[in-house]
Amino acid sequence: MDYHIKELMACRLSRELLDGEAVGVGANFPIARAATLLAYYQHGPNIKVTMGAFRVNLENADQAMNMAFFSDFRPVRWAESAMNFSTQMYSFHKLDTFFISGIQIDAHGNTNLIGIRRDDGSFKFRGPGSIGTTTLAAVARRYYIIAEHHNPRVFVEQCNVVSAMGFGDGTPGLREELNLPGAGPKLCVTPLGIFDFTPDTHRMRLHSLHPGITLNQVNENTGFRVEIPDNIIETDPPTARELKTLRSRVDPNGELR
């Protein structure tokens, strides 16, 4: 069956989400939104789905809508509650998971949304800002890094600025030492493959290659040495059922294609 790589990424991620989990998704993050909605329709009717600041019930929604803006009011049609920033922003440690991206992603799962500095500390390149990621990465039970582009500019040995801590410099037990309640990044999902982190020094390790992708492609496109396991497996491609739900209910406008 034919599919786009972003569809594969969304399907693969959706299998990570368990029924009943509280999942945070920002706006303008189509792969994360699709993964969450797909999990909700496929196996997670109790997944706590949010669209913008609304918790929604999409049971009877034939089609979800795109969220070009977090504050789009129109999901109110499915909303059963709305996030009260004055009390709820403090409860992010109750999130089971969320998704993060970065202008840089490093070998230990740290991410950078702030920018790249010159030696004198001034910004050569300024990014958009941390949004909620600094805290979420510290407190959410686990999270997933999503990279829409896999290249050596994004995948660097060490982020120039760390705006959200993954595993720091990889020192065993560092998150516990800093009293960060969350377990940190679980996987990194890119157009080339799925990566996890070694249990000891938390270095990024290939978990599976997407169909048709070679180990060479991964090595060439990563700005650091990726840990390679003995057995390299292939990412399970989307099933027919997944693709059908994805295209009919989750992403009818083909944002992922």
Partner: protein, 295 residues
């Protein structure tokens, strides 16, 4: 003696905000900013403001930067999501070091607001430990909690002179209600010494009293400004004007690349020449405004 009517006109409201003040903006990313009032500050070229930008902010902060109003910026994001990953003038100013940026994420900014509204010197958070935020923002102070000796980051309170928010309705006594989500506006109002709120509509006190639980806060000054959030959305009233956002982003982007023509045109037409909010809306035009329905 009679109770004070707090309805003010646009220019009286703008007079409150003077060079060097610290102001906090309500709304969230592309919704519910008091854009009409903020545009007035840009038109007046109010200087040296410390701006606390709505937790995560958008192009209203970007044009304030372009008009030279901001000395120091407190925000976790400046952009318009799918319409612009970043505010062009924000990016340029950050790269030129022409504004100070108080680096934070949304929860750190909320922690600052919480400390301020609670009248305590700081609020403790976990996020930021192990990142470069405390290095970029020395106001964030790592410390050990006095009970369990855990690592935390102390986020200091800030003195905020004026909050500028935009809501759906208010009465002449300043009771403010939202048809949508107030986002962090309640905290922003409580953290500020004074609040000026623009509203889509002023209603009789009796309408407010139909549901007192919907009143989010009481503003010190209320300004009637229909379409006051434009080009952003005002929940329950109109959605984002994506075409206008794109027009802005394109012009601003070109300006940061050295080509000022489109931006000069934009700035004159929408910021400098309209003498007030209604004149701005005239520039936008009825057809555009009324196309921003939600269905």
């Amino acid at each position: 003696m009679k109770r004070t009517n707090v309805i003010a006109d646009e220019s009286a409201a703008l007079d409150v905000i003077t060079d060097g003040m610290t102001i906090a903006l309500g709304g969230f990313i592309t919704a519910q900013h008091a854009t009409g009032l903020i545009r007035g500050l840009a038109r007046r070229r109010v200087k040296d403001l410390t701006v606390i930008g709505s937790v995560s902010s958008s192009l209203e902060v970007d044009f304030l930067i372009s008009c030279g109003c901001i000395k120091k910026l407190v925000t976790a994001y400046v952009g318009a999501e799918s319409a612009a990953p970043m505010g062009p003038f924000f990016k340029q100013a950050a790269e030129n070091d022409s504004i100070q940026i108080w680096e934070c994420d949304e929860i750190i900014i909320m922690a600052m607001l919480q400390a301020t509204m609670a009248g305590i010197p700081f609020y403790p958070v976990r996020g930021g430990l192990g990142t470069d935020l405390p290095q970029l923002n020395p106001d964030l102070v790592p410390f050990k909690d006095p009970i369990r000796n855990e690592n935390l980051l102390a986020v200091p309170a800030m003195k905020i002179d004026v909050a500028l928010t935009h809501a759906s309705i208010a009465d002449c006594y300043g009771n403010v209600q939202y048809d949508g989500n107030p986002y962090a506006d309640e905290m922003i109002q409580k953290a500020a010494d004074q609040t000026i709120t623009s509203v889509e509509k002023i209603v009789p006190p009796e309408f407010i009293r139909r549901d007192p639980f919907k009143t989010v806060y009481t503003a010190d000054m209320v300004v009637r400004m229909p379409f006051g959030a434009h080009p952003f959305s005002s929940q329950g009233a109109y959605i984002e004007d994506t075409a206008h956002l794109n027009e802005y982003v394109m012009a601003a982007y070109m300006a940061t690349k050295g080509d000022d023509v489109s931006w000069e045109t934009y700035r004159k037409r929408y910021i400098d020449e309209p003498e007030d909010h209604l004149s701005y809306l005239e520039q936008v035009g009825v057809k555009s405004l009324l196309s921003l329905h939600e269905y």
